[in-house]
Each structure stands twice: as C-alpha cells, then as structure tokens.
C-alpha cells in the first residue's frame, strides 16, 4: 500500500488527532499557536480574545481552532493497525 489513504484524502481519523500544521484554506502556519490558545482559553479568556491576540484574523484559520479536538492522547493508547 504505497499510495496511502492520507494522500487520497480519505483518512478521517487523521483530521482531528493533532492540530494541522497549516490552515487548510489559506496556508498560514498555525500549529505553533495551538498550545498557547488551549492554555489561555482554559484560563478564562474568551476564544475571540485569544484568536485576535494571536493575529488569526481570517475565519478559515479561526475555524481550525474552533473546531479542533485533540484526540491523539486517546488514540495513542491503542495499537496502530
């Protein structure tokens, strides 16, 4: 299986496991902002404030942050198929 599911765009599990390196729409690198975003929004700041402060101004990038769930911790405990 040299041509992977990821290449075919058919890997639904990969999508929500870990924050994408770049925004899927506009190509802006966003992954390095995630930890900061997660920590600050957990500490009571609104998501809007944090995203404005991190200079995520387009709604494509903001959507990546709003919709993301870190599932890698869960998935990593099971054996890879």
């Amino acid at each position: 299986m040299t041509q992977s599911l990821e290449l075919k765009g058919k890997n639904p599990t990969g999508r929500k496991m870990i924050i994408p390196i770049r925004c899927m729409s506009c190509n802006k690198p966003i992954a390095h902002l995630w930890e900061d975003f997660k920590e600050r929004s957990a500490n009571g700041e609104t998501k809007k404030e944090v995203m404005d402060d991190l200079d995520l101004k387009r709604y494509c990038c903001r959507a990546q942050f709003m919709g993301h769930v870190d599932l890698l911790d869960e998935v990593a405990r099971f054996k890879r198929g």
Binding site: E6, G14, M17, I18, I21, R22, K28, P29, H32, D73
Partner: protein, 251 residues
C-alpha cells in the same frame, strides 16, 4: 509605478500603497510570489523508527508543511541542481515532539516556528527519522509558497460632515481609530472593521482612484518581505529572459 510602505507588523506583514498600476500587473506579481519564488521545505523523509500513533505518511505530510527558514542565495535552482539539507531527529516519549528538536546540517535552514508540534509520544514510543529539505516552487506544492499577497482599491475616506465623522469614531469597535481632518489616518483600522464600514451607510464616502491599490504581503516565514520582493525581481527577470530566448528561436 510608485510604491509607498504604509505599515509593517512584527511578523513581516506589510501594506503598500501602489499607485500607477493595474490589476493585471498586480495579479502577475501575486501569482509569481505564490507559484514561482522558491523556498526550502522537507521533501523526502526516511523514517527509521516510528511507534507513535500517527502513520509514517501522515508524519511525513506534517513535516513537509513545517516552515523552514530559507537562504535566498541557495534557493534558486542552478543547473537543475536542487539545494538539499538533511534534518535529523531522535526522541523517546513521553513528550510532545516539536519542530525545533530537529537537528539541521545547515545552521541557516531551521524551523522558523520552533514550537510547531509534530506528534505526541507516550511512554515507550519512539521516533527517529532523517528528513531531506529541498528547494522548490509553489506550483509543485503549496508548502513552497513564501507568502500570501492580496490587494484592493485604496479606499480614500472622505467624510465632509464633522458630526458624522465623530459618530463613526464612536461606533468603531477598534479603539485605534483615528480620524484627522475627516480622513482615516491609520489604514489598518479600515481592514475588516464592519463597525466603521457599517457607519458609512452608503458608498459615497469611500472614494477610489483607478490606479491606486492597497497591497498586502503576508509572509509565512521562509523569507522576509524584503527578500520576497527581491526574489520576485529575479524570478520575473529570469522568465522574461527565457521568453526572449524562445522568441529568438522562432525568428
């Protein structure tokens, strides 16, 4: 053509007022920046050990998108020889693997956003690979694109009624709004500010001139805005030379 730098942010995002040009010229520049200015990106990954939850190919895909600082001189492909640099990584969990942990053979080529998470490792999980970064152009893969460029007609605000100008200042949700002589002083506040645009009610207060454009270049980090513009010159010169050569052949 006249170019004036209006503002520059910390991350390099620059706004220009370019007068005496047209959409077709600006779009050519935009396409050259997106498609033809070369940068480095990870191209090939040899995975020696990967017991993380992500598949090898997903890992390689993520590594490819990592933004690498690029030396402009090394970037241009000379005699069909691509410049390559090896980056190695060897870590054992539990930890988050960050891009900055990759060891580069060339100190000039490194991940610009060091805190980019590659993968999370649990206990007893290991990751070891050799990644090869190479120069390339955005038309091959978007990971090589150095920046985003966009433009719009330069909005000249012209509010004659002082009371109205005052009301707009009050209604603007961005406190940086500064109106002086009924003209917007800080152009940044114009952008994406529905508060003040909504306050205008009709378009009569925004004047545009045919040849004046507000151009934004938003670099991703491989090259600075200055370097991108420099490379843009080289790229377009090279392409014109090529075109001239081809035309001579026809004769």
């Amino acid at each position: 053509m006249e170019i004036k730098l209006l503002s520059k942010k910390e991350d390099g995002t620059s706004k220009f007022l370019i007068s005496g040009t047209s959409v077709s010229i600006l779009n050519m520049y935009r396409r050259l920046i997106v498609n033809k200015v070369p940068t480095m990106a990870i191209d090939t990954v040899e995975i020696i050990e990967n017991s993380s939850a992500l598949y090898d190919d997903m890992l390689a895909h993520r590594l490819g998108l990592v933004v690498l600082k690029t030396d402009l001189d090394a970037c241009f492909i000379k005699d069909n020889q691509r410049y390559t640099v090896d980056l190695t990584l060897e870590v054992e969990g539990p930890c988050i693997v960050f891009a900055e942990q990759m060891k580069s053979k060339d100190p000039g080529v490194f991940p610009i956003h060091g805190k980019t998470p590659i993968v999370k490792l649990l206990e007893n999980q290991k990751l070891k690979f050799v990644a090869t970064a190479a120069t390339g152009e955005g038309k091959e893969h978007t990971k090589h694109s150095p920046a985003l460029m966009y433009y719009e007609k330069y909005p000249y605000l012209n509010i004659k009624d002082a009371k109205k100008a005052e009301a707009i200042i009050q209604s603007c949700p961005i406190d940086a709004k500064k109106l002086e002589d009924s003209k917007l002083k800080d152009i940044n506040t114009h952008e994406l500010c529905p508060g003040c645009i909504g306050g205008l009610e009709d378009d009569n207060h925004i004047e545009t001139k045919d040849a004046d454009y507000l151009v934004t270049i938003e670099p991703w980090g491989q090259l600075t805005t200055g370097e991108i513009i420099e490379a843009l010159g080289t790229v377009s010169n090279n392409l014109l030379d090529e075109l001239a050569k081809e035309i001579k052949k026809i004769k």
